[in-house]
Every structure is written in C-alpha cells, then in structure tokens.
Amino acid sequence: MIVAERKPLEEIRRNLAGRKKVLVLGCGGCVTVCLTGGERQADMLASQLRTAAKVAGEPVEVTVRTPTRQCDREFIDTLKADVEAADAVVSLACGVGVQLMAEVYETKPVLPAVNTTFMGAHSGPGTWTENCRGCGQCVLAETGGVCPVARCAKSLINGACGGTNKGKCEVSRDIDCAWYLIYKRLKARGDLSFLRAEREPLDWGMSSSGTRRTLVHAEVNDQAHRRGAEGAEGAAERK
C-alpha cells in the first residue's frame, strides 16, 4: 500500500494563496487505509481550513468529496461539477492521484495535501513501515522475503555492511538491519546459499531511479495486441 503523510496546514494554505472556494478531495484507496486521506481526514482538513480562514477573517467555502480512488480516471470524472465549482482542489491522495486529477482537470490548480512517502505495511498500532521500493527486479525469492533494496539503508545486495550492530542498522537503533533479518531467516530455513552467491550489481535502470515506467497488459490493450507477436505481454517497459 502507498503511505502518505499530511502536509502542515500552513503549506497547504500557502499553496491555496487565498483562493475562496476549495474542494477538499479525500481518496478511498491507500490513504484511507493509512489514516491520512480518507473521508474523515478530508473532513478534518476542511474543518481546519474553515477555522483557519475564520481566524484570519477571510472566510472560505470548503466542500469535501471522497471518490473511491483518485488514480483512475473513471472515478475522477464523476467529480466534474464539484471541481468546476471550486477555485482550487486540495487532494489528500498520493502523488499519483494528484497528478491524474491535474491531468484530467488541466485548468484547475490541484494541490497536494500530503507527502507521499512510501510503499509499506501496517507494522503496529497506527504505524506503517516501508517494505518495497518498486525496484523492478524483485529479489525476495532469494532473500527470505526480506527486501534488501527497501529495508537496507544502503540497498546492499551482498550482505550486511560493517555498520550492522546487534541486529540493528547503523543508521538507527530503531531500524532492524535488513541483512541481519535475511541471515536469520535463511539460516532458519537451513539454506544460506543465496548469502554465499556473489551477486552482480543491481540494474538500477529498472528502478525508480530510471525513467518513467509503464506496464502494458496486452490482453486488454488493443494497440499492444498488434505488437503481441513481439511477446511483450504484461511487461514493464519504458517509453
């Protein structure tokens, strides 16, 4: 799941630059699940905006909508009337949703209300922790299901660095050393062969460090079908 963090109100208000009619847009997807951008949080942001405006003596009109997802056009399209009635849209969706909104409603300022932070899992009460970086070349099969790319501060692929300390990462005592976990997991499985195998450097070109990535499922993409013979089915590719 994509995890995001609310931006400070001040920044949101600064970006709004005094616009009077604001549409606050929650998202029913990931950000609802991580308690950052659901309908409730959208309501609370709207409440903050109204109250802050009142304090400043410049009332605003704030409406709230929360589509199922902001990362799909069909859901976004249903917001047309509300978007048009507003001077600006403040979106609590991840960067994906904000961009799509901005693309669909090109002339409307669509402002982010959150910082999109990572892909992660619920790891404790009210806590989410990063687990995957979308590197495009998943190695979990060999690392006992612990991702060294996301969970090792240095994304090392050949084992722990010298900073590993009593199972924790050199960066912080609060973070487990990914390679310690991998070692323990593989050891428990009785197979350290991956640990022993000398790995070639990762191909960062497949990762988010590369260019924008696209996934095409040929079975539902007419254009791709014509190229189907090339066997590019379901492949991630770069444009």
Partner: protein, 714 residues
C-alpha cells in the same frame, strides 16, 4: 449473526428514522411480552431524563407503577448481562421512573375520540389496556367491572405489601385520564346482560373478565369451617385484620399465588405457616425470589405432598393429611401426579387455604351467542382475538389461562387491534413480524466487558415487614437508579457498515476493545457481539461506520443547537460530556453555583462517540472554546475510552492550533464529568484565560500564532 451493512444511499434514506435501531432487537425487548424498548428507557434513565423514560414505557405498558413492582420481568432473565455479572435491574428502574414526582406533573391528554363506542367487560390489566389502546385510536371505550375499583386481580389478589393499592390506583387513574370510561360495580351477566351492551350502542365488546374463581379440591373435609380458597382469602386480607392471630395455617399449592397466600397469612398474625406442594424444590413453579422472601419471613415449604383429606374436629379444621407424591410430571412432561397412598403425612393446623389454581366465571355469556366449550372455556380464535360472536372479542387470562400482568396487557393490545380492524371493516390480521433478536454474548466478549455490580433493592428486614402489609421493597435512590441504568450495554445499538465506503482498512478491528469487527472484503461487525460503544465509528477513516441509534452528524447537530442557544455576541463555550454519567446530566441545568459564562453542554451517549472531527467542528461552528469533560477513570462502561478520548483530543488540539485556534480555548478535564464543582471550575478557568488574552479569535487577523508561541514560552 452476520454484521449489518448498508450502502450510503440506503443509509441516507433511513437516517433519522427508527428503521436502523429497529433492525434487530436486544433480547430483553424480544422477551418482554409487550416489547417495551428497555434499552431506550434505561438509556434515558442513565441520562437523567426520567420523564421521557416513563413515556417510553407508557407507550406499550399502561401499568408502569404496578409492573415496576410485580412484573415477573422475563426481560431480566434474557438480559445479556447475565453472562457478565447480573442482569440489569429493569423492573426496579421501571418502578423508579413510575413512582417519581415530576415537576411537570403527570398530565395526560385525552385523545380526540369520535369513533364507535366499545364495551370492555373487566377492568383488569388486559381490559384496561384494550380500552386505552382503543381510546388512543379515537374510539370511545367503556370498561365495566363488578368490583369497586379498576385493576382486576392486581387489586384484589396481589398483596399490598408487594403492590400498594395507591400505586395501582395511579396507573388506573392515568388510563382513565387518557379517555377510558370506567363503570364500576356493574356485573355483566346479572341484571345487566351482554346483549344490553349491544342495544346501548356498543359496536364491539371485549370480554376481559379474567379468572375470578379459585379452584378447590373435592376431598373429604373440604367443606369444614376453616377451609378457604386463595382469591377470597387474599381479597379479604385487607380487611381481615389480625384474624389469624396465633393460628396454624397450611397452604395447599406451590405457585406464586400460594406464596402470596402464605405471606399474607404471616402478616395476618398466623403463628405457623406451612406450604404443602406436589412438586419438589426444583419443580415448584413459584418464582425463586418469592420463595426466598417467604422463607425469610418464616414460611416453611413441604414438598411432594398430595392432599388426601382435611382432618376435621367439631366441624372445624384440625389438620390436613397428605399422601406422598412419587412423580408430578409424566414422561412427556405433562402434569400427571402419581401418589403413594401408603406414605401419609399429617399436618396439624387451624386453617387450610387452597391455592391450586383459578378458573373463569362465564356466567355472563350464558344464553348469548358467545359460546363456551364443554370444559367451560370461551370459544376463542387466537389469531383474531374473537369469540364465537363477530362483534365480541376477548383478552386476558380468561382466554390465555393464568399468567402474568404484562402478558395480560399484551393480550389486551391484540384485542384492541382486532377490534380496530373489525370496526374499520378490515379483515382481522394480528400477525406480527418482529425484528430478529440478537444472539447471546459470546463468552470471549463477555470476558472483556467491564463488570459492575447490580443495584440492590433496599428492603425492609423480614422480621419487621412480616408484621404488616406495608410495601417491603423501598425503591432505588436516584443515584443508584442512574448508576444501575448505566449498566445496560445498549445491546443491538451497534453499527452499520456502509458497503461503498468501507476501505477494509482494519481500523475498526484494531480499535475495538472487544476485537469484534471481522474484516473480509469489507468490515463485518456482528451486532450480537458488538457492545455499541461506537469507538470504531469515531475512528473509521472512511466514515463508513454509522451507529444505529446515533448517526454521524448527531454530535454536530447537538453542537449547532448548543451554540444557537447561547448569545452569539459573547464568548460561547461548548462542553462535551458523557450524558450517560449521572451528575453530568444534572449540572446541565441552572445551578446558582454555575459560573456566569455562556456555556452549553453537549451530552453524548458515551465519550467514546466523540471524534476529533467533532471537537474541531465546534470551532468551525463558532464556539469560542471547547471543554471536554472526561469521566473519572474507570467509570466508563466501555474499556479503553479514556485513552481513545485523550488521543482524539490531542489530535484535534494539534490540528486546531495549526489552524490558529489559541490553545487556551481547548481544555480536557479528567474526572470532571461526574464532579459538578470541577466542571464549573473548568468553565470558569477557560472563560478567565480566554478573556485575559482577549485576542486571537474573533477580531479580524488577530491570528493565534503569537499566542501559541507565548504559550510555549510560558
């Protein structure tokens, strides 16, 4: 039972109506013969809204005073608290609201009565109920009774130490006040015949004559002086004085009537009272609490004794002889006693009272088109409440057989409906489809519930009470009643999940103190397991959980109302507090000690319902300050609320400060909800702090930011 789910659209259609809260019933309500909304009136009592609670009861039960004392309370038997500690004291709470004096009085409005005249024969609970229902529907009912007052057996048989006559009289008066005419000292079937009613223009007749004859036994000696029957014995008890002084009394029978007879005999001065019953201790039909109280008063119960003969000396009772009972019920569970004629027991005594059952006196229908069967029972169609005559209906024990007052009331409701349908020219259909009731508590859930001891009914000690007919149960104090009402867990008031909003985020599961929500494709919250605290509803990020009885905008509406009631020019404080907490409900009123600050309480069913967004809303709506009063630690009926509330308050506080609200405009006081002084102090403190730094909120541009900094540096 699966959880309750709705789409947002369905919810929008139903919100505000009773449909949601009526979807499923708590077991108490299902068990109540008249289906009184127990949860609703207990909740009102807990909030100190006694008069409203009484109104809820009166809707379906015209005898709150009487039933508040003598009801056999099947609701309590079914109460889900049985699995936690003890059932809620529902009957005692009913009595509490019924016997209270209300400043607004007990005014009743006569409904507009322009419909047909209906005659009811018998002013017992069933007849009066049928009449009242008909009056409320606009008919003109007249109740005929041969007695000198209304109330039926409750007046003539139920002993005054359990049901003071004036309590019953008040119930009857209230019924009369609502448009029921009562014609006393009229025996129908004597000089005045059933057909006379028809000729006098009564378009329908309801026979509600009860079971007025006590049964005796045709055993040798049964006609001797000193042999009595239960009903005449009880009826005479009021006037009999200490007629049994020093006498030894044997009561034959093991039911509730027999116990009443025995305890009445004690009060009439009997030296020794013994009950002889067929059944063993387990089989004995009298309620256990009655038996216990009788024993306390010195009544001895002898089991497995079948009456053989009354021993007579000089024409007077000298004793009673019994044969041993080997079996009371046969293999099919049918009453079919077997005796051992060789094992005999003799009890010396001066008086024998038969309390072995009652039967109907149907003299009034003799020679009319209202037929009785060969066993002397009215021909009666249960599905229509009708007798063999099209315009004659019946209700109460005359048709149901012996039971309880509230069952007679239920039967009266049915008869009234039947009459109404008949007189409206409709086919009679008494079929009722009741909402399903929720299951028993799961043991795992019961274990997590906060235990709370049941209020004990203060009672006069046995030694003292056995000397007179004074009411021996003294009633609950206001504080005890409110505390007791808070023990109700508001079963079945739990949430609906809005299917289109739920994001399956698991928050509900994670915050529920009972781990009740199951999240599959979406959340599934079992209404049987749910305790209705509403913690999940206040945390759900998708606003996908709505509480059946307390919608998502309920708090906001109350905030609006609170603010609207305050002078908009001054500083307006909104105080969130638990309406379920006794003293909190009281300090809401006008108290001379209350600070002269424009402040208004918003009472919640539990602080568990107050979300961070609700707190924020108060400012948005124009509150100058918000005080959250948390109950004293450990007093909430739900676990974890203290912690949740503090977290929500903290979240709201951060967000509000971020929005420029000066920090002194927000306060949380722990333990103040039940402490009037502390609450008043909280109001005064906030007013003072806000006034002292009267910048920041109302005047334009005076942002609270600098204050925040100042606050920090302080």
């Amino acid at each position: 039972m699966p959880g309750r789910q709705l789409t947002s659209e369905e919810y929008a259609r139903l919100a505000g109506s009773d449909a949601l809260i009526e979807t499923e019933w708590a077991p108490c309500r299902a068990a109540c013969p008249v289906h009184a909304d127990v949860r609703a009136y207990l909740d009102l009592i807990a909030r100190g809204r006694f008069r409203e609670a009484l109104d809820v009861i009166r809707e379906v039960l015209p005898f709150p005073g009487a039933c508040g004392r003598i009801c056999h309370h099947p609701c309590e038997q079914e109460c889900r608290r049985n699995d936690v500690d003890q059932p809620a004291a529902i009957r005692d709470l009913k009595r509490f609201v019924a016997e209270r004096d209300y400043p607004e009085g007990q005014k009743f409005e006569k409904p507009l009565q322009e419909r047909d005249k209906v005659a009811v024969v018998g002013a017992g609970p069933s007849g009066l109920t049928a009449a009242l229902d008909l009056a409320r529907l606009g008919y003109r009912p007249t109740v005929f009774d041969r007695g000198e007052a209304g109330g039926g057996l409750l007046r003539t048989a139920v002993p005054a130490y359990r049901l003071p006559r004036k309590v019953l009289a008040a119930d009857v008066d209230a019924i009369v006040a609502q448009g029921v005419e009562l014609r006393l000292n009229v025996e129908v079937g004597g000089a005045f015949q059933l057909d006379d009613l028809r000729s006098q223009g009564f378009k329908a007749v309801v026979i509600a004559v009860g079971l007025s004859k006590s049964r005796g036994l045709p055993i040798p000696g049964a006609d001797a002086a000193g042999v009595e029957l239960a009903l005449p014995f009880l009826a005479a008890a009021d006037s009999a004085g200490p007629g049994l002084a020093g006498k030894s009394v044997v009561v034959i029978g093991g039911g509730n009537v027999a116990v009443d007879v025995a305890r009445t005999a004690v009060r009439l001065g009997a030296g020794r009272v013994q009950m002889a019953c067929l059944e063993n201790e387990k089989e004995q039909p009298a309620w256990s609490w009655e038996r216990h109280e009788a024993a306390e008063e010195g009544v001895a119960t002898l089991h497995r004794l079948g009456p053989k003969q009354v021993l007579v000396r000089d024409g007077r009772v000298a004793g009673a002889e019994f044969k041993a009972v080997t079996e009371v019920f046969d293999g099919n569970g049918r009453f079919n006693p077997k005796y051992d004629e060789n094992r005999l027991t003799t009890l010396d005594c001066d008086v024998v009272v038969f309390a072995i059952g009652q039967e109907a006196d149907l003299a009034l229908v003799k020679g009319t088109d209202v037929k009785a069967d060969e066993r002397g029972r009215l021909v009666f169609d249960r599905s229509t409440s009708r007798t063999s005559a099209a315009d004659v209906f019946a209700c109460g024990e005359v048709v149901t057989g012996p039971g309880s007052a509230v069952e007679a009331v239920a039967s009266g409701h049915r008869a009234a409906r039947a009459v109404h349908q008949f007189l409206s020219g409709l086919p009679i259909d008494l079929g009722e489809s009741l909402p399903p009731k929720i299951d028993k508590l799961a043991p795992a859930t019961a274990q997590r519930l906060v235990k709370a001891a049941r209020a004990e009914m203060p009672a006069v000690p046995a030694a003292e009470r056995k000397a007179n007919f004074g009411q021996f149960e003294l009633g609950l104090s206001e504080a005890a009643a409110m505390k007791e009402a808070r023990r109700c867990m508001s079963c079945a008031s739990g949430p609906f999940v809005l299917t289109d909003k739920c994001a399956a985020c698991l928050t509900c599961r994670r915050v529920c103190p009972f781990e009740i929500p199951e999240v599959k494709e979406i959340a599934d919250i079992s209404s049987a397991l749910c305790q209705g605290c509403g913690i999940c509803a206040a945390e759900c990020p998708a606003n996908a959980i709505v509480m059946a009885g307390y919608g998502p905008d309920a708090v906001r509406k109350s905030v609006d109302a609170a603010l609207a009631s305050l002078d908009p020019k001054g500083l307006r404080l909104v105080i969130f507090t638990c309406g379920h907490h006794a003293p909190a409900a009281r300090w809401g009123g006008s108290d001379p000690a209350r600070p002269a600050v424009s402040a208004k309480e918003v009472f919640l069913p539990s602080m568990s319902r107050l979300s961070a967004a609700d707190i924020m809303y108060a400012f948005e709506a124009g509150a100058g300050g918000v005080i959250v009063l948390e109950c004293e630690s450990g007093t909430c009926r739900y676990p974890t609320v203290e912690l949740r509330l503090r977290k929500r308050y903290e979240q709201a506080r951060q967000l509000l400060i971020e929005a420029g609200v000066a920090p002194e405009r927000l306060a949380l006081h722990v333990g103040a909800a039940d402490n009037q002084e502390a609450a008043f102090a909280a109001i005064a403190l906030m007013a003072e702090r806000v006034t002292r730094r009267a910048q920041g909120w109302a005047p334009r541009g005076q942002a609270a930011k600098p204050q925040t900094a100042e606050e920090k540096s302080k």
